[in-house]
Symmetry: C2
Subunit: 292 residues, 2 copies
């Protein structure tokens, strides 16, 4: 079956006149007649009673006209959906971020977006990187804030900023007075790290192994906040990314690294095939401004 035929049929059903119906459909009367004849032929039913005096709907024609009206209305609905959807900035936008970033950056992103893109329906998700990648692949989220590198050719990314690492020591620690520190100096220290699955654990662990720094292997924190509290309580030392530092915090000292400064690179990541690239780029831009 064919929408054209249905449209023509409904026009005749309304006009009760082939010529006028054809006019309304912007086609010639024979074209319209033929389409309707074919429709009747295909359905095996007579929809219209014709005479040169008047055109009438058969009983079954009436019923089919009602269905046809429903179909054409639904077509209009689709067109409206399409039109309204063109403004992706007034639709859902699902953004993920991994835990050691999420808590520190999402609040300000939300505030910024509410101000700049008030119609955007922002939906946030805090998960570890692996989960985010999987949800990104499956289309459950539109984009994610991730630490580089992300090596999947189906994704594209936009680097937002570098998040420098700081050495976090208790105020009582022997290094706490230092303004800067060289990684090489940590030879005989042992760092506390996060539990498995956190990308920040992997990054810190890589660093330790590369630089020959020890790791406090008995202990694995479930979050950066736990880690911070452990440092404050004098249990040990660790590395904290810049974004997670607090201003004017007592009991803990953040020491920047000298010479080689380790950092993580945060980027917005999305599917190449995504239909929301415009929104994604815009949110990326806003996020960049936030951390300037």
């Amino acid at each position: 079956m064919n929408l054209r035929g249905l449209r023509y049929f409904l026009a005749v059903a309304k006009e009760k006149h082939f010529g006028r119906a054809a006019e309304k459909c912007f086609v010639s009367q024979p074209s319209l007649s033929t389409q309707i004849k074919n429709l009747e032929l295909e359905l095996g039913v007579q929809l219209l009673e014709r005479s040169n005096k008047k055109v009438m709907l058969t009983e079954i024609g009436e019923e089919i006209a009602v269905s046809t009206q429903r179909i054409l209305s639904e077509i209009d609905t689709i067109k409206e959906l399409a039109e309204n959807s063109n403004d992706a900035f007034s639709r859902k936008f699902k953004l993920g971020a991994f835990p050691t970033l999420a808590a520190y950056i999402l609040p300000s992103i939300v505030t910024k977006i509410q101000k700049e893109l008030p119609k955007l329906n922002l939906i946030l998700l805090e998960e570890k990187t692996e989960i985010l990648l999987q949800k990104l692949r499956s289309g459950e989220i539109d984009a994610a804030l991730l630490a580089m590198p992300v090596n999947e050719s189906q994704f594209q990314h936009d680097i937002l900023f570098n998040d420098e690492f700081y050495l976090a020591v208790p105020e009582t620690h022997k290094l706490s007075h230092r303004k800067k520190i060289d990684i090489a100096e940590l030879d005989d220290e042992k760092l506390m790290l996060l539990e498995d699955g956190h990308c920040f654990r992997e990054q810190a662990l890589d660093l330790c192994q590369r630089e020959g720094i020890g790791v406090e292997d008995e202990f694995r924190a479930t979050s950066l906040e736990t880690l911070r509290l452990m440092v404050k309580s004098g249990t040990g030392i660790t590395i904290i990314p810049n974004i997670a530092r607090h201003q004017n915090e007592t009991g803990i000292t953040y020491i920047p690294f000298d010479k080689i400064c380790p950092y993580r690179t945060i980027a917005m990541v999305w599917r190449k095939s995504s239909s929301k690239k415009k929104v994604i780029r815009h949110v990326s831009k806003l996020t960049k401004k936030l951390v300037e």
Copy 2:
């Protein structure tokens, strides 16, 4: 917009795979791809996210897929309606009859049809001929039992039977002993007739004028039953069609005409363009049998 494109789109929405969707639609993959591309182009929206790894619906694609499903279901509804309607014998059949016939023939027609065509949804209408013709023209009824002639070229008819006229006189009337009567003998009688608008009045009036019979002009009965009662009560004489006679009735005598027997011809009448000719012919046949 085009049903084909919608069908293909929904297939991909279900299969999440162009190749398999194309198979299900019995077309080549490029044909299907092109149709979907055109649909997206026309709507100005991306419905699907494609990569060579997987196919995903966009948010708006999901919404439009729901509408599309509704449309295709409604198409199925139309096909079902058409299929089921093909048996016109299980649908409505609206039959009209004029008053001086209806009361005497419709009851037995109903009984016969209930027995022979039990699925037929018979709807009856008793109206004067003019009203019936108008409703027949407008399609409000499918057929009518009418007295001939009916001269409208848009109609067809099937003659059912001739309904002979009888002279009805009170038992006390001077003619009541007669077995037969010649119309010419009624020169000095005055007949009571029905009110205006009844075709039977017209027929009787024609007869009176043709044969020089008088008409009781003060009195116009609203129905044949009134007329019959008037005769019984001895008020006057009249003509009654055969079908309206009662068996073994007291107080009234029906005398058949000799030589020239006046009668009315009853036929089934319908629009040439009617889609129910089969049912109509069948009902005609049943009605003929009834009066045999």
